[in-house]
């Protein structure tokens, strides 16, 4: 098993939350917090929430698309985490453990939404996913430090990518988010999804192909 420390992410990505970043900056600190939480220190768990909330929310919103729904799912993931905290054995990093809870919630929600929309008379899967994609697009903020035309171009690019992402199956979305947005390594992803490494890579490759199909227009 590869390193499941949260430091891995800290190396790749900026600290998720400025307030918490300095206070708890490594996996050991996170593990300490979760141990305290397991001992009944809810304040410690609250600090974990503060530490992870932005990052987890970002992953969730890329999977689900809807901001309010993502906020709700993120909060539910934290709540479930606390409810199941005794089940945390320390095999994985606390964040990975919480991420697994959140991913399961997201996939479950997305499947529900898809099933629900399949029964409606109007539109197909494509249309429903377009809804999600469009809600994602709204949230793309312009990058600073770019010329207005570059900003426009970048924004358009993001819009296309998010729209394409929103049209994928939940499972494909999840692996792409984990790998390319969250920066998980293969082993972490396999742990979260409960898949063998080979299968995980194969699914990731197919997800990439599917996304590429959705981005055909962009590549042309």
């Amino acid at each position: 098993m590869s390193s499941l420390s949260g430091a891995h992410f800290e190396a790749d990505f900026p600290a998720a939350n400025g307030q918490a970043g300095g206070e708890v900056s490594n996996a050991l600190g996170e593990l300490e917090l979760i141990r305290k939480a397991q001992a009944g220190d809810r304040g410690a768990y609250g600090r974990l929430v503060l530490l992870y909330q932005d990052r987890l929310y970002n992953a969730v919103v890329r999977m689900v698309g809807d901001r309010d729904e993502s906020r709700e799912l993120t909060q539910e993931a934290f709540t479930r985490g606390l409810a199941k905290i005794d089940g945390f054995r320390g095999d994985a990093a606390p964040y990975t453990w919480l991420f697994r809870i959140a991913t399961n919630l997201c996939i479950s929600r997305l499947r529900k939404v898809q099933r629900h929309r399949t029964f409606s008379l109007e539109g197909g899967t494509r249309g429903s996913n377009d809804d999600q994609a469009s809600s994602l697009i709204d949230r793309v903020k312009p990058d600073s430090g770019l010329r207005p035309d570059e900003q426009m171009e970048r924004q358009e690019q993001h819009q296309q990518v998010l729209a394409a992402l929103g049209r994928l199956d939940p499972e494909y979305r999840a692996v792409l988010v984990m790998r390319d947005i969250e920066g998980f390594d293969y082993q972490q992803m396999a742990d979260v999804l409960g898949l063998p490494l080979g299968t995980l890579k194969s699914r990731l490759f197919r997800a990439r192909l599917a996304l590429r199909d959705e981005l055909k227009a962009y590549f042309k």
């Binding site: 609250g46 709700e72 993120t74 539910e76 409810a83 390319d180 197919r206 990439r208």
Partner: protein
């Protein structure tokens, strides 16, 4: 498969730059000879970077705050958070489940109380309840009050009968478990307890002497031991279609009877109850009737110089069956009778909504007389020139559709009436209502081109189209500071308004599509049907049969149709035939039905004044039916399909024994073979005619 997965895993690792040097070299070697694959992987790498470059979203403080708030609440409530998976801000479904379970429990409890504790037959319960027996047909038992209650539970409890010897009866409808609350509604047969006589519990009311004598008498002896089944249907044609389909597919002998005309009514004779029971009629003076004066009166000068609203004097009860809605089923074994009963009940209980209630009965009726103080009245009658000066009062219809008179005209939803775009002229007749005053007023456009609206006074509408006139009236209401809601104006008759002379005559030919608007005064009968003129120049109308149209003008076609329709006592009506000419312009012609002047006064109109009235079996069936189903018009839909069941043992009517004055439309008994027979004539009017 495993190999594919392996290759995909390798390619994935290549895209993610996770391959070792050897693996990477292998791939690149392959890509060197496959530019397409190289491009693909290049795109995947590019796409990976795009994903990584997406901006990050932040959650803000909400999640933390909500979470800590939830923690605090759980602490205050001293609840074990670990076991509480309820998320703050989310709606838990458990309370809903508990609530539903509680309601269900309550309902079951109530049902149990009602079923087991309450008396089965409370004193105020209806007088008749169907008590199905295992051997015979449905039986009515009587109590003292005057309601007929069909108890579907008891019917449902019976196994669906299957009979041998007649083939396997296909189910008429789905399982009887579909009986719904609607069917539990008691059917009112007010006033008929006495008429039916005093029956003891379990006695079959249909085979009583009283009923048989009556049915036998009204059928001129053609039917003995009849049972009359009346389906009270909101869509009689559909209901009848289903019944006849069922009969046909199960090889029942049946025949369809055309709607009879009511018997001629003489002075002081009881009036046959009919649809006119819901018509407020206006009194016609004896003077107005003398010497054919009515026929010579111009349309702008109503022949009715005195009015009397008879609505309150007429029983708002029975309604005549519609044309072609009678079915006579013959030569039935008792088992078949039973089966049909069951099927009819199933039909009633089906979820398809064709039939809402059902009544089974037949009896002699107490005589009903409707006389004015002068002993004279006109019954929904007109001649071709006399204006139709009566007002419909159909509370049920108005309650169902308060304002849009136009909507009822469009029924069945095929096409709108064709006359709305035409310009109104003096002499035309319009109907008018508003949302706040939904009672439909039928108004004449007088010679000044005006109509008289009660709250507005005289309003000129001649020269406007119906829509324009409607808008204008609405505006006048506004100007007067009145808020009547939706104003609804509709042309009832515009025959005089079409300046046909200004157009070169249009001749119908094969291939034309003719639209026939059945503009009956009775809104129930209005419809628009479309017909393609066949190669032989013929169109076929529901109920009315075939018409030769090629070589005729639309007006001539309309005249022929109106003439045929005049055979039916459907009240006054106008048939408008519309065709499109080569330029796509609508060309129409219209003609009115000539209803017989069923007017009687002190001098008693002779029956001979009525055109060719059939007087026999069918003639008085409405009477029978009206007795059987004296349903309150205000709350019940119409009674429209009647099935007369005649058990075995009665000789079928053969041409030789058929009374001379049986209606012409009565066909000889036929063995209906669904494969060989054409579709019943009552298929929906919109069905295309070959």
């Amino acid at each position: 498969m495993a190999n594919t997965e392996h290759i995909e895993a390798k390619l994935c690792a290549y895209v993610d730059n996770e391959l070792d040097a050897q693996g990477r070299a292998e791939i690149e070697q392959h890509l060197a000879s496959n530019p397409q694959h190289r491009q693909l992987l290049g795109e995947l790498i590019q796409q990976r970077d795009l994903l990584r470059g997406l901006p990050r979203e932040t959650a803000g403080e909400d999640i933390y705050e909500n979470f800590t708030g939830q923690l605090e609440r759980s602490s205050l409530l001293d609840s074990d958070f670990e076991e509480d998976e309820v998320v703050a801000g989310r709606i838990s479904h458990w309370p809903q489940v508990y609530a539903a379970a509680a309601v269900l429990l309550l309902a079951v409890g109530l049902a149990a109380v009602i079923y087991f504790v309450l008396p089965k037959q409370p004193a105020h319960r209806p007088d008749f309840a169907i008590a199905p027996t295992t051997t015979g047909p449905l039986v009515l038992s009587t109590e003292k009050s005057s309601e007929l209650l069909i108890d579907p539970d008891r019917v449902v409890a019976r196994a669906k009968p299957s009979f041998s010897g007649s083939g396997n009866a296909a189910p008429l409808v789905a399982a009887p478990t579909q009986l719904n609350d609607e069917t539990r509604r008691p059917i009112q047969v007010a006033g008929h307890a006495g008429a039916l006589g005093n029956f003891s519990a379990g006695q079959d009311v249909f085979f009583t002497t009283t009923v048989n004598q009556h049915v036998n008498r009204v059928t001129n002896g053609a039917v003995n031991n009849a049972k009359v089944v009346v389906l009270n249907s909101v869509n009689p044609e559909a209901a009848q279609h289903r019944v006849t389909q069922y009969l046909g597919s199960n090889k029942y002998n049946w025949q369809k009877l055309d709607e009879p005309m009511p018997e001629a009514i003489g002075y002081n004779q009881p009036m046959v109850m009919s649809r006119t029971a819901n018509v407020a009629m206006r009194l016609k003076t004896p003077r107005g009737l003398a010497g054919g004066e009515a026929a010579t009166t111009t349309s702008s000068q109503p022949a009715f110089d005195e009015t009397l609203d008879l609505t309150q004097k007429l029983e708002p009860a029975s309604q005549m069956v519609r044309s072609g809605q009678l079915i006579l089923v013959r030569n039935l074994t008792p088992r078949q009778v039973e089966d049909l009963n069951q099927c009819v009940l199933n039909l009633q209980g089906s979820a398809q909504g064709d039939v809402s209630t059902i009544a089974l009965s037949g009896s002699a009726a107490p005589a009903r007389e409707y006389r004015t103080q002068e002993g004279t009245f006109a019954r929904a009658t007109t001649t071709s020139t006399a204006p139709l000066n009566f007002t419909w009062r159909d509370p049920a219809a108005q309650a169902a559709a308060p304002a849009p008179v136009n909507a009822s005209i469009a029924e069945p939803a095929t096409a709108p009436a064709t006359t709305t775009a035409a310009v109104l002229h003096a002499g035309d007749i319009v109907s008018f209502s508003t949302a706040t005053s939904p009672e439909l007023a039928v108004l004449n456009i007088d010679s000044a081109g005006q109509i008289n609206i009660q709250s507005l006074g005289r309003v000129t509408i001649a020269g406007w189209t119906v829509d324009e006139a409607q808008e204008r009236i609405a505006k006048l209401y506004q100007q007067a500071g009145l808020t009547p809601g939706n104003v609804s104006l509709h042309a009832v008759r515009m025959a005089a308004s079409q300046p046909a002379a200004t157009q070169p005559s249009f001749i119908v030919k094969a291939g034309n599509e003719l639209e026939v608007s059945w503009d009956y005064l009775n809104p129930d009968l209005r419809r628009v049907t479309s017909h393609l003129v066949s190669e032989e120049g013929i169109i076929k109308l529901p109920l009315l049969g075939e018409f030769q149209t090629a070589g005729k003008t639309p007006r001539e076609v309309a005249q022929a149709i109106a003439e045929a329709a005049s055979r039916y006592d459907a009240g006054a009506g106008t048939f408008v035939v519309t065709a499109k000419d080569a330029s796509g312009r609508s060309r129409s012609g219209s003609a009115e039905t000539t209803t017989f002047p069923e007017v009687f006064n002190g001098a008693a109109t002779q029956p001979s004044s009525q055109p060719d009235l059939p007087r026999s079996l069918a003639t008085t069936f409405p009477t029978t039916l009206s007795i059987a189903t004296s349903l309150p018009a205000s709350s019940e839909p119409r009674v429209d399909v009647v099935i007369v069941l005649q058990p075995d043992g009665d000789a079928p009517i053969s041409p030789a024994t058929e009374p001379a004055d049986l209606p012409r439309a009565l066909p000889a008994t036929q063995q209906f073979d669904i494969a060989a027979s054409p579709a019943p004539a009552t298929t929906p009017a919109t069905a295309p005619v070959p």
